[in-house]
Amino acid sequence: MKFTPEQAAKVAVLARLKLPDDKLERLAAQMGDILSYMDTLEACPTNGVEPLYSPVEHDTPLRMDVAVKTFERADILGQAPDSDGRFFVVPKIVTG
């Protein structure tokens, strides 16, 4: 399978990655190889086979609907690169 640097760039944008041209070129070639290998699955008949997305077989265990204190706000905000003590702070979202 042929995969172009332009295609790689488009998917990188969807994944919120900004990659330089030399990296995109290498990535495109590798993706071509890897996706060609993945195409071997086409040879496996799967008509009528139910997809298996998780090996979990048990029902979700239920618990009482009671509020529990988990973490302190200060602990959580303490991990953030920037906060005002109450909320996370990010660069402007709306321009203009």
Partner: protein, 488 residues
């Protein structure tokens, strides 16, 4: 190497309980061993020497307790698992300064059981790799030959146990990341059934595949660790609300293999193995037969599709899981981003390494509109067929046996240039994760050509870790053992 650091976990535990060795002495001997061997192996990303010694001394003061089965035992934790107050990088620059304010459930349980955490083990970034060369910090080296890789992604966890720096470690296994380094480093590693151990506090990679498990010198040591960590956790809805059997008794109690049917899948024993791996593993099967096992042929006909299936599922889940690293709530944030979108893009581009970016992009592609059915849904269908192969095979056998890897540890740098070649190293380990079943790797000898350790895998039915641990205990008890690692 001191006599103490060469003990198995269960031997150490007996001597600690008898007060023949103090917790402080065991801890100090491990720290001395770390000091002596780390320059050669680079197994650890951080060492908490002071805290470990302080805890050991306080344990010595209060004395051993019956409800603390790992009282005074020094261990190491893979850096993908959250440890309260101790940096948890997951082998990535994006989490370089991440200090969790809570313990993973497994860590909480190990601490409660009296274990002493010495440090955090190196790993491939976000557990993506088979050699520990993808760590953002440094490659780890194999204690049997420091020019070779320890396997991955839990390579630090494998090397630290093999180098006698600690008595057991925690690894995580998404596609073989416990069993491959256990095999390459000559130790025992167990991937429990999906849901046996809570994943709360584990940095997620492939959520339907990831499982935490023990790595140690013997199957009995792994059983001691598993016994402490197993069981439902309300904080992880995928952890199973099931009875936890007495793993230690099931393991130590089995001295032979009478009445046990070992299935040899033709797909694992055909071509493709190096001569030394083939010879070592077949000799182990002969020993198993002599111990009373019945050897039966089984088939896992969808094995040829396992690698493609695995990488589609793992990369899809990774692209989704790693979306949380955005420079907002924790982890690396780029300076001077003009807007939120640029903040995301630049933080992720600078914070993630190349292999992680490759998997995120591939995962995004296979989940994108127009390709979802061809790749992700198709892989999920083949996944069911792969799982069904195991269920069918277990109709005629109790344990499935095969080599952990087609070859022994390879050289540093040997496979880094071609990611696809690196993925193919996982051929014998990944089907198990797709199926959610338990499996272990136990050392069965040294390859006659390379002198490097060879591991044999044993797969069990869901929730039947006791049988494979017991079988591995009987088999390794009948084999000569590998001795001390030759590379240090």
């Amino acid at each position: 190497m001191s006599a103490v650091t060469s003990l198995t976990l269960t031997d150490l535990r007996a001597r600690l309980a008898a007060r023949e060795i103090s917790a402080a002495q065991a801890t100090q001997e491990c720290l001395d061993r770390i000091h002596a061997t780390e320059p050669a192996v680079d197994a650890l990303l951080s060492v908490q020497a002071e805290a470990a010694l302080e805890l050991a001394k306080s344990l010595d003061q209060s004395g051993p307790k019956a409800d603390q089965p790992l009282w005074g035992v020094p261990i190491v934790v893979k850096d993908a698992i959250c440890t309260k107050g101790v940096t948890t990088t997951c082998g990535s620059k994006i989490l370089e300064n991440f200090v969790p304010f809570y313990d993973a459930t497994c860590v909480e349980r190990l601490k409660k059981a009296g274990a002493i955490i010495l440090g955090k083990a190196n790993m491939d970034e976000f557990a993506m790799g088979s050699s520990t060369e993808n760590s953002a910090y440094k490659p780890t080296r194999n204690p049997w030959d420091v020019s070779k890789v320890p396997g991955g992604s839990s390579g630090g966890s494998g090397a630290t146990v093999a180098a006698r720096q600690c008595f057991a470690s925690l690894g995580t296994d998404t596609g073989g990341s416990i069993r491959l380094p256990a095999s390459f480093c000559g130790i025992t590693g167990l991937k429990p059934t999906y849901g046996r151990i809570s994943r709360y506090g584990l940095v997620a990679y492939g959520s339907s595949l990831d499982q935490i498990g023990p790595m140690a010198r013997t199957p009995a040591d792994c059983a001691a660790m598993l016994a402490v960590m197993a069981g439902h956790d309300p904080k992880d809805s995928t952890s199973a609300p099931r009875f936890v059997p007495d793993f230690e008794a099931l393991t130590a109690g089995r001295r032979d293999l009478k009445g046990l049917r070992l299935g040899m899948p033709e797909e694992y024993w055909g071509g493709g193995l190096t001569a030394e791996v083939d010879a070592c593993c077949r000799a182990a099967i002969d020993t198993a037969r002599a111990l009373g096992a019945e050897i039966v042929p089984v088939a896992l006909p969808h094995t040829q599709y396992a690698i493609a299936t695995y990488y589609i599922v793992a990369m899809a889940e990774a692209s989704s899981n790693l979306a949380r690293f955005d420079g907002v709530r924790y982890g690396y944030r780029v300076d001077n981003a003009q807007d939120l979108r640029e903040l995301y893009e630049l933080s992720r581009s600078e914070g993630f390494g190349e292999e992680v970016q490759r998997r995120i992009v591939l995962g995004t592609y296979v989940l994108s509109a127009g390709y979802y059915d061809a790749y992700y849904r198709k892989a999920a269908q083949v996944r069911r067929l792969i799982r069904q192969d195991f269920l069918d095979a277990f109709e005629t056998c109790d344990v499935i046996v095969g080599p952990t890897s087609p070859f022994t540890a390879f050289g540093l740098g040997e496979k880094t240039g071609d990611p696809l070649q690196m993925y193919l190293a996982d051929i014998f380990t990944i089907s198990l994760n797709l199926s959610g079943l338990p499996g272990l790797s136990v050392p069965v000898g040294l390859g006659k050509d390379t002198g490097m350790p060879v591991g044999l895998q044993m797969f069990g039915r869901a929730w039947d870790e006791g049988t494979i641990l017991g079988a591995a205990n009987a088999l390794s008890g009948a084999l000569p053992g590998l001795g001390d690692p030759s590379g240090l």
